[in-house]
């Protein structure tokens, strides 16, 4: 009983609580940035893979296929390790930022690059699914109206493709939030790593001078709860969007 009270005392300690909440903020920030940039790079990759089929541009298509397949078939952790060694870091980041030390800022940049590279490949496949769902007649119609290929892409194909994949992209946010926990392997920035670090110094905060099994349950349980609340509300949103779309399609067919 004493141990459980100690663990609860630890988590209600304002400093510890603020430390964890900052981790939550970083988790969300990293994931949102990774998905936004992933959508940008992923769209380019998907378009290149789908439409660069003429003999002149074939090489780009192969590059894009290679990129997507390589990243899809290797673990994220490998890319985090690779980026730690090989990713160049601009010197402007060599300073303290948002309460992180300069070393941590650099780690954050490098690991975020790995996450973005990885997420781009996944989102590329999602966007490709969206592009394939747009009927080919749209191209011909666009050409007939005098649009150039770039204009057709920007004004006709992409808007329709993205409309179809909004739910899938949102569930990719959930996946990325979960994937961002892989950063805990190398740096102490986001939620997962902060909780793990707190566990190793729990004896200082629970007033008992030992780390007990109740600390594990309280700390990791609390982290589970936070992840669950964020991801579950997102997945409810995804489900609601899917249901609405299904209904809209039914109206279109029957009406």
């Amino acid at each position: 009983m004493e141990e459980v009270l100690g663990s609860l005392r630890m988590i209600t300690n304002p400093a510890v609580f603020a430390y964890i909440m900052k981790g939550v903020a970083f988790t969300v920030l990293i994931s949102v940035v990774a998905v936004l940039l992933g959508i940008f790079f992923g769209s380019i990759l998907a378009m290149v893979r789908n439409y660069c089929t003429s003999p002149k541009t074939r090489a780009f298509q192969w590059l894009s296929i290679a990129y997507i397949e390589i990243f899809r078939n290797t673990p994220l952790l490998l890319w985090i390790f690779i980026c730690l060694v090989f990713c160049p870091c601009p010197s402007i980041l060599n300073r303290k930022l948002w309460g992180l030390s300069s070393a941590e800022v650099k780690l954050l940049f490098k690991t975020a690059v790995a996450l973005i590279l990885f997420t781009s490949s996944v989102i590329a496949e999602i966007v490709r699914g969206g592009l394939n769902s747009v009927a080919h007649g749209q191209f011909e119609a666009g050409h007939a109206q005098g649009f150039s290929t770039v204009q057709i892409m920007l004004y006709i194909i992409l808007p329709q493709a993205f409309q179809n994949i909004v739910p899938t992209l949102l569930s990719q946010v959930i996946t990325t939030i979960k994937d961002s926990s892989y950063l805990a392997n190398v740096a102490t920035i986001e939620l997962m790593s902060r909780v793990k670090k707190l566990l190793s110094s729990a004896h200082r905060y629970n007033g008992l001078n030992t780390v007990n099994v109740s600390d594990v349950f309280v700390l990791f349980g609390f982290a589970c709860l936070i992840y669950f609340v964020i991801n579950f509300s997102l997945s409810c949103l995804v489900r609601w969007l899917r249901k609405r779309k299904k209904k809209a399609n039914l109206v279109k067919v029957t009406g």
């Binding site: 899809r72 673990p75 490998l78 390790f81 090989f86 959930i174 992840y227 669950f228």
Partner: protein, 240 residues
């Protein structure tokens, strides 16, 4: 590029090649047993979710939502440290098998559920009226029809499972990624970053790429067949 073209670095890899094979073996063993566990859990909860009994379906729902909405890394740490601090440690590989089995079990359950739900209700009723029991219906009527819907996403889950063995690293695992990392940072072996990461990535790619290509080819051919049978259906309707 930290030794991508240096013969010494490659030589180092060659000398320590058994390390990589050991890592690959550990990854394979973890993935295989975790897959078996995930299949058992997935079929069990998938059947619960489609049993039509509210409390059982709710139980399956809760399991799937809780597991799918928390990171596998957190679950791994949770299980490992909870066992370690209560002096009941079962070893890293076993913890990995258990965690990955439970985590991917939730995904398998969803795959199985969607597969069974895609079969129209009438099939169940028809089987029931013909005197099939629950197991008979599932085995003879539902399984043969839903297997083609279930298998492609299941193969994708296997690929994810293999990739997720890398989360053993956080508890000091012995899988391929952890072994590679300790190889490149080790005192005697360190420094050969590029070749070591290349080899380890290549090993993953060789295992995962055929599986994921198979899954997407399969899915595409199913989709095409659906389109074709849909067209056939429509032309039949027009003729009638």
């Amino acid at each position: 590029m930290a030794g991508l073209f240096s013969p010494e670095a490659w030589n180092k890899i060659w000398i320590y090649r058994d390390t990589f094979f050991l890592g690959l073996k550990n990854t394979a063993v973890t993935a295989l047993f975790a897959l078996a566990l995930a299949l058992v859990i997935g079929i069990f909860f998938g059947l619960l979710a489609t049993s039509g009994k509210k409390p059982l379906a709710a139980l399956a729902r809760v399991y799937v939502e809780v597991i799918q909405n928390t990171p596998v890394l957190l679950q791994m740490c949770f299980l490992y440290y909870a066992l370690a601090f209560s002096n009941r440690s079962i070893g890293i590989i076993n913890t990995g098998i258990l965690t990955l089995g439970i985590y991917h079990g939730a995904y398998m359950a969803e795959v199985v559920r969607t597969g069974i739900e895609s079969i129209s209700r009438g099939q169940f009723e028809a089987a029931h009226s013909q005197g099939f029991g629950y197991i008979g219906t599932m085995y003879h009527i539902i399984l043969p029809q839903s297997i083609k819907i279930i298998l492609p996403p299941m193969v994708n889950q296997v690929v994810n499972l293999i990739k997720n063995t890398s989360c053993l690293y956080i508890v000091g695992g012995a899988d391929l990624i952890s072994v590679t990392y300790s190889f490149v940072t080790g005192e005697n072996t360190g420094g050969a970053y590029a070749p070591a990461y290349l080899i380890s990535g290549l090993l993953f790619f060789i295992v995962c790429c055929p599986l994921s290509s198979l899954a997407s080819l399969w899915e595409n051919s199913l989709k095409k067949r659906d389109v074709r049978s849909g067209k056939a259906q429509k032309s039949l309707e027009r003729m009638a």
